[in-house]
């Protein structure tokens, strides 16, 4: 008897895990699609920003198309091509999520640059992290954070004025910037873990309902059979 119960429980657990994975996958495919559109919107916004803020470079009265416009058009396209193709052909996979996370941070860096390093554009990084949390996969947030930290670390070594304004900042200064990202990460990671738990609990409930419904169907079938047998006997 206890063996039957254990077997049913493990069947129910397996079914709950399958429902959970299915729901997570469906959710992640939807988020991949959302990012595809977001990348396209950001791409257009980047070009508009470049055309608005710095359309031309000048030499006296002669002007040529500014480098920022080329960077927005060609560089912007280069950044989004891989995540968009992955979200079309490999939606919902771990690789797609991580490439999207890295590309979104690069898109933030590009937008910050195109708007002349405006402090307001830095909010894009924090907004992007919140969007990445929709995946309910905290590892994607880590990838995004590593990209931000690496960007600051490498620029701090090779090109410090672009981040800190001075040529010889302390080596640890990138940690201060990345620290604010990590600060947001703590809460988003917690939200991811909680979100996954809620999905798992809902999947377990659904598996239980399905199991009970199955039992009910079996009981009904047995009852109908018994009734039919009684009718035949009478």
């Amino acid at each position: 008897m206890s063996e039957i119960v254990t077997e049913r429980e493990s069947e129910m657990d397996a079914r709950a895990a399958a429902i959970r994975d299915e729901q997570l996958h469906a959710r992640r495919v939807r988020v991949d699609r959302m990012f595809t559109w977001l990348f396209l919107v950001q791409y257009v916004a980047g070009i508009i920003a470049a055309l608005t803020v710095s359309p031309y470079a000048w030499e006296g009265k002669v002007h040529t198309v500014h480098l920022h416009v080329w960077i927005a058009v060609i560089g912007g396209a280069g950044i989004i091509i891989l995540p968009i193709l992955l979200s079309i052909f490999r939606p919902g996979t771990t690789l797609t999520r991580h490439v999207i996370a890295a590309s979104q941070m690069l898109a933030s860096a590009l937008l910050i640059h195109l708007t002349g390093g405006r402090i307001e554009t830095h909010f894009h990084v924090f907004g992007s992290l919140a969007f990445l949390a929709f995946y309910l996969d905290w590892t994607a947030l880590i990838t995004a954070t590593v990209v931000v930290a690496a960007d600051h670390f490498l620029r701090g070594i090779f090109w410090p004025e672009s981040v800190y304004g001075v040529a010889n900042p302390e080596w640890w200064r990138f940690l201060e910037h990345a620290g604010w990202v990590a600060f947001e990460d703590v809460f988003l990671i917690w939200a991811c873990v909680m979100g996954r738990r809620e999905i798992a609990a809902s999947a377990a409930r659904q598996a239980q309902v399905e199991h009970l419904s199955e039992l009910e169907q079996l009981k009904s079938a047995a009852l109908e059979m018994a009734m039919a047998e009684m009718q035949v006997a009478s």
Partner: protein, 203 residues
């Protein structure tokens, strides 16, 4: 099977493009931002033939700007900070370049408006960069600081890179000189060209 191979191949190519773009973009932006414009010619005294009347009781700061240079907005932001930190001991002039054969009004850009909004700063339109040449400047954002005797004490830009506002050595030096914390400094200047080699040869 063929479709699968095609998709995998496309993704690999996209991955290579992605990696190459990131590398190339960093390289291009770094080169662009860190390459300074042409530094000023060495002049040690206030140019006597300038039509700007220098105030002998105060420090005089002259900044040259190209009104269509997007990087110059950062220089103006820094200038605003310098004016604020230097107080009334500083007299500021912003010389706005305009080609002589272009219609008046060409210079009225957002950058020009930003210059007009500066406190205690005089805006002077400089046809063909004639004044800029007198001061020996070639690049938008070029800043000169003269003491009460008319001796040049600072020459250079007040941003750390092209189009980057924020604390930097150039603007800090200007404030330090005005407050007698430094004697004389130079700094690279980042911006579009005002006086080009070609226009210089024409003169």
């Amino acid at each position: 099977m063929k479709r699968r191979a095609l998709i995998t191949g496309s993704l690999i190519v996209a991955g290579l493009i992605w990696a190459a773009t990131v590398g190339a973009m960093y390289h291009a932006v770094r080169r662009f931002e860190t390459t300074p414009g042409r530094g000023a010619a060495s002049r040690v005294l206030w140019p006597a033939s300038s039509r700007i009347v220098r105030d002998h009781d105060r420090w005089t700061l002259v900044m040259l700007i190209h009104p269509h240079c997007s990087c110059t907005r950062a220089s103006l932001q820094e200038l605003e900070r310098i004016i604020e930190m230097s107080g009334t001991s500083l007299q500021t002039y912003v010389l706005v370049y305009r080609p002589a054969d272009f219609q008046a009004g060409w210079e009225k850009t957002e950058t020009f408006e930003a210059a007009k909004r500066l406190q205690r700063a005089h805006i002077i339109v400089d046809p063909d960069g004639a004044e800029a040449r007198l001061f020996g400047g070639f690049t938008s954002g070029q800043t000169f600081l003269y003491d009460r005797e008319g001796a040049l004490r600072f020459s250079g830009g007040v941003t750390s890179l092209r189009g980057h506002a924020g604390v930097n050595r150039g603007s800090m030096d200007v404030v330090d000189i005005v407050h007698a914390k430094a004697r004389q400094c130079t700094h690279p200047v980042f911006g579009c060209a005002i006086v080009t080699t070609e226009s210089e040869q024409r003169q």
